[in-house]
Assembly symmetry: C2
Homo-oligomer: 338 residues x 2
């Protein structure tokens, strides 16, 4: 099958670009220095590519991501980098602890108690390093670790996500602010102990020299999107949502890719050599730039999402294509949900 | 089970509010005067409530919505109000024509040819009435209908979606512009023939007196969202995404409802008596208004999405609750996908 024969809207992955991105990141952070975040793609097929490049430890945002990777026999060391209180989901993770090393983030006595009650053996202390989201204050991290150890749990270290710095555009300012955030994380680590100091994302992956960070949680680098592309990193676009022109006139064209198949929180998607007018539930209206001919009805159009993570989560399958546009694999987006 | 015991993020539907909305709309547009649009909820459970209120004809945006309703034995007259070229999907619809009346929108010789090749018997001419999206120019509608009839197809009438007018805030201006759009549709209908003149949405449902429109395609009225709520219609919020507070400090709280469980194209969701700071993939950070206490860790929080349609499409199931918060049914969101 060729990508031009796919039912649309279709997630298409360029295997050459994907492998280039994975190799570029593995050069900088080989093996366990990278803990790829699977929330960015939610596909065990992509995780298997990351494992083939040397990474066997993964970051996950939901219990289902961990259980799905175990089912798919990909990876052996999973970090739930998210606070979860649900006793059923935590118990399901606890039951899988003989199959893989599972570590659960905690940032409060309540999340500690929930993990302990479910029988979770290993935790990591999630430390707030400036992003107004999860994470305990750095000066309280040690006491939480002590409480976990008093419950007989293994405290593997600390994590801290500097998500508020991903899109800082000035590189020197960014580096300086990342170092300040990682100094907070290092202080917390002193009090917590353990082997792991985990942080980072695609926007900051090359900012950790001179810090104590020993694993980076980047995810979006594998597929990329238009927002991260602005940062000028070596990663290239490897995923598109392909649509079919279903309607047109002399002013605009319409494809069957709409806001139900695109993450919209970063704004509209882009279409090369075209101007996107707006997205509706099932459609995007667009027109060609000057000098570009209008597509014909039935023509396939490649749409570049502005935010990769939610886009992947909206689709059931990713079609993997080679340089000739031949579909060489179908990877289920099997890690969706919670 | 109580809604406070659900695994989160969870779509919760207030059955009383849902039935009130459905009854309010059925009062204005009883029976076949309303052709409820299922793209707004993608659940055969909600469609069954609409059928119980007297509506047996439905509007659908995707072949899967039609086939899913047929599988669920809900409705008997389905309009695919969207242009589709995919031969496999059109053939699947054609095969279902003995089980229900299926009518497919066409707006070009290409979409006509695709429907004809697949064996589709009934079509409707989709007419552009001002929204820059699908639909043939009004003055070309008659010729397309003639071509369809020359192919032996039944032309059931016209549809035209005035989506560009849904959010016009001045009622007089809106009514005047809707009437102008419907005059275009009536002119096209003169040339096309057939029994159906289909148009409208929740934003314009009460604007068709004095027009030739004989069925309204509203969908969002059943569940509502914060954008439509601004219009002051009699419909009330009937759906929320319920989250659990998983992290907090003295400045903000974090729930496990993020942009992967919320349609974000209309902006951030709202939380009653609280201010939403921002949404991440799996989280929303928020803080209480003055005088409102901070929630505690583990507390459930009701999030009102800004756009209902894509929100529903992100979830696998809707939990239906009565006035006591007891979960009385689980409706699969079974019409997702294409």
């Amino acid at each position: 099958m060729h990508i031009y024969d796919l039912p649309t809207p279709a997630v298409v992955i360029d295997i050459t670009a994907l492998r280039k991105n994975i190799a570029s990141m593995a050069d900088v952070h080989p093996g366990r220095r990278l803990r790829p975040h699977v929330k960015a793609h939610k596909s065990s097929g992509i995780a298997a590519e990351q494992e083939a490049a040397g990474h066997s430890s993964f970051t996950c945002a939901t219990p289902r991501e961990i259980l799905g990777l175990i089912d798919a026999h990909v990876g052996n060391d999973f970090l739930l980098a998210n606070e979860v209180l649900d006793p059923h989901r935590l118990s399901a993770l606890a039951e899988a602890q003989d199959e893989a090393l599972i570590t659960v983030a905690i940032d409060s006595p309540e999340t500690l108690a929930a993990a302990h009650r479910a029988g979770i053996r290993s935790v990591i202390i999630d430390v707030n390093v400036g992003l107004p989201r999860c994470g305990i204050a750095p000066d309280k991290a040690g006491a939480l670790a002590d409480a976990a150890r008093a419950n007989g749990m293994d405290v593997r270290g600390v994590m801290g996500y500097e998500g508020h710095l991903m899109m800082v555009t000035d590189r020197d300012e960014k580096k300086s602010r990342v170092h300040d955030a990682m100094t907070l994380l290092a202080q917390a680590h002193q009090a917590v102990g353990g082997d792991i100091v985990s942080a980072g994302g695609t926007g900051t992956y090359d900012m950790f020299a001179g810090t104590t960070v020993n694993e980076v949680q980047a995810g979006s680098y594998a597929l990329m999107d238009t927002q991260y592309a602005e940062l000028g990193h070596p990663f290239v676009q490897a995923m598109w949502v392909v649509g079919t022109v279903v309607s047109k006139n002399d002013k605009w064209s319409v494809i069957d890719v709409g806001l139900k198949s695109l993450g919209m929180d970063h704004g509209n998607p882009t279409i090369k050599d075209h101007s996107v007018w707006f997205c509706s539930d099932e459609h995007t209206t667009f027109s060609p730039s000057e000098g570009t001919p209008q597509p014909i009805i039935g023509e396939r159009v490649f749409v570049t999402p502005s935010h990769i993570d939610p886009t992947m989560a909206m689709h059931e399958v990713a079609y993997v294509a080679n340089e000739y546009g031949e579909v060489i694999a179908q990877w289920p987006i099997d890690l969706r949900g919670w």
